[in-house]
């Protein structure tokens, strides 16, 4: 079965998503409590095991190629997994598992949970598909699966605000997918292939001027998906309006998948290491504007959304520098960002669960009520601001050094200043939520329930572990970095040296 692991990783959540309505109906008929929740958790755990089973082979330097229907690439659709794919799949499966455990209690007051778990599993299936596929059109289809489920989940609570955010997200994001589709169409017109490896090989022989338009379309379309400034306007609304569990999944996993697609398309497909400097510049703008906007926010979830935009800027900066250290730092930061951003959104959700609002003007002094949650928030805030000994410091340090080594000290200075800004807005959030005067009606707020606390704690432990032992994290991202820089290996593995 191990040789079928790539396809099982996509099928498992897809199968479970179709099964979920039936399980919901059966559990209501038979009166079994929480059958959906346990089933969903079992599925994502199995999913994680499937992804983990691919680790030894891929970290051993192998590229796993799985041919759907037994058709040879470039004719058939295939899944190709190298270090980069696997890193993303690992993040998706891990974050998916933790958010699912978190949803168990967090979503218990909502109705329509059949739909929630179905859509959740569909998003996981879509993300896994984007992460593992070796076919550019497949990538587009899985992106659509992921995004369309996301629109529905943003509007899940059916308030006016969330429906507005969902429609905005849908319109902007559809524009992005149309750009990607148009880019794919142009590429197909140019060389007549949809397989990423085959395209990459054939595009080498096409004149560069013909490739510029599809490349621009891809960068713009994917830029909308990962909310690069100035294409970010949908993201704060969507994250604020979505249930916190969903926002945690989006910020941890969906953003990662978007960046993966960007790296895969720009570096492997187009081999365009030259436009890395453009990505780095975009990253700089994104991190500065994201941090400045975050400073001005009064809602915790909105602040976290802007901070997420800002962190994506760091990843783009690292990856855009194009050096070994830069790409390693960028991917390590991507990994770390998934950890602490998910954790912070979960904490925001815990506050909403207990207090009912994430508006920082109405909160205060919660330190006395939720000491553990407050401590975890401090861990997350320090990690994201790049304070040692947490994981954010390790990856940001690598990006700073990479900036200087690449002869761009200005980039490093801007990144450093943004880090200070990050610390500033998180101190502001900490001060207005957990410190200060406590409003009278908040005096009997209880601590976060344990099932919700567990995933947050696990992520906090990871923050410390990767901060104290950064080498461990670097070992995890090194195969991914090698995969980014070795597109020839990917191509020859998929096409069998043809």
């Amino acid at each position: 079965m191990i040789s079928h692991a790539p396809i099982l990783a996509i099928l498992l959540p897809l199968f479970a998503a179709f099964l979920m309505p039936v399980i919901g109906i059966l559990s209501r008929r038979r009166g079994i409590k929480r059958a959906r929740e346990w089933f969903a958790i079992a599925v994502v755990l199995a999913e994680f095991a499937v992804v983990a089973s691919m680790l030894p082979a891929v970290w051993g330097g192998q590229v796993l190629v799985y041919q759907l229907g037994g058709w040879q690439p470039p004719w058939g659709v295939n899944l190709a997994i190298d270090g980069l794919n696997l890193l993303v799949a690992l993040i998706v499966a891990g974050i998916g598992t933790l958010v699912m455990i978190y949803s168990f209690v967090y979503m218990e007051r909502d109705t329509g949970l059949d739909q929630y778990y179905t859509l959740f599993l569909l998003i996981v299936a879509g993300m896994m598909g984007v992460a593992l596929t070796g076919d550019i059109f497949n990538l587009y289809v899985f992106f659509e699966i992921m995004c369309i489920s996301s629109y529905a989940l943003v509007a899940f609570r059916r308030k006016w605000q969330s429906i507005e955010a969902s429609i905005k997200y849908m319109i902007v994001s559809s524009l992005g997918t149309s750009f990607i589709l148009l880019g794919i169409a142009l590429l197909y017109g140019l060389v007549g292939s949809l397989n990423i490896a085959d395209l990459a090989q054939k595009l080498g022989q096409v004149s560069p001027s013909a490739v510029i338009v599809p490349l621009a379309l891809f960068v713009t379309g994917l830029g909308i998906k990962i909310a690069v400034v100035p294409l970010h306007m949908w993201m704060p609304d969507a994250y604020q309006a979505a249930p916190s569990a969903v926002a945690a999944l989006f910020s941890g996993a969906t953003a990662t998948v978007g960046i993966y697609a960007m790296v895969r398309v720009v570096y492997t497909l187009f081999g365009a290491f030259a436009i890395g400097i453009m990505l780095a510049a975009l990253g700089l703008v994104t991190m500065v504007i994201g941090a400045l906007m975050a400073l001005a926010q009064r809602d915790l979830k909105r602040l976290l959304a802007y901070s997420g935009i800002s962190q994506v800027g760091y990843v783009l900066l690292g990856i855009g520098l194009g050096t070994v250290l830069g790409i390693q730092g960028g991917l390590f930061h991507l990994f770390n960002n998934a950890i602490y951003k998910t954790m912070l959104f979960m904490i925001a959700g815990a506050i909403i669960y207990r207090v009912g609002t994430s508006n920082m003007d109405q909160l205060g002094g919660l330190w006395k009520n939720m000491p553990v949650t407050a401590t975890l928030f401090v861990v997350g805030a320090l990690a994201i601001s790049g304070v040692p000994p947490f994981n954010g410091f390790a990856s940001k340090w690598m990006i700073y050094v990479a900036g200087i080594e690449a002869g761009q000290p200005v980039f490093t200075i801007i990144a450093l200043i943004t880090s200070a800004l990050t610390l500033a807005y998180f101190l502001k959030a900490l001060n207005s939520i957990f410190l200060g005067q406590r409003p009278k009606h908040l005096s009997d707020v209880k601590e976060t329930p344990l099932p919700m606390m567990f995933p947050i704690m696990l992520l906090a432990v990871l923050c410390v572990v990767f901060g104290v032992l950064p080498q461990l994290g670097i070992d995890i991202v090194r195969p991914a970095q090698e995969a980014v820089m070795n597109s020839g290996g990917y191509i020859s593995a998929v096409l069998g040296g043809a």
């Binding site: 079928h4 396809i7 179709f18 039936v22 229907g69």
Partner: protein
Amino acid sequence: MAGMTVIVRTITRLLFPFTFLFGAYIVLHGHLTPGGGFPGGVIIAASVVMLLLAYGIERAETKVSFLQAEVLESIGGLAIVVLGLLSLLLGVAFLQNKFPLGELGQLFSAGNLPLLYLGVGIKVAAGILLIFYAMLFAFRGDEK
């Protein structure tokens, strides 16, 4: 929704079996003729929607309820995935056609393709009906 006049009702009653049969024909001959699961499923859904418009939602729900449509949709989706997984169990790649291929042009031929079309047909028919129900219920303003 109240339904329409007796003329519309009579014509719908006469047309319904033929429309439904035509949809089923398109689905089942998906591997032989133009068409297949998606268009066939749409035609089947359209035949039920026609009943729904002529007789009103209460009568239509006695034929296919929301719950039944929901279950059917899941079954359609599951059928496709199960067929794919079946190939894995037979020791070949996902969705690889391992069933006997039969003779070209026969109804029972082409391995797993007719079964796949059947799954798609069920899924599409139930899905479109569900969308229609959901929009109607949104205006009715009560549960789901």
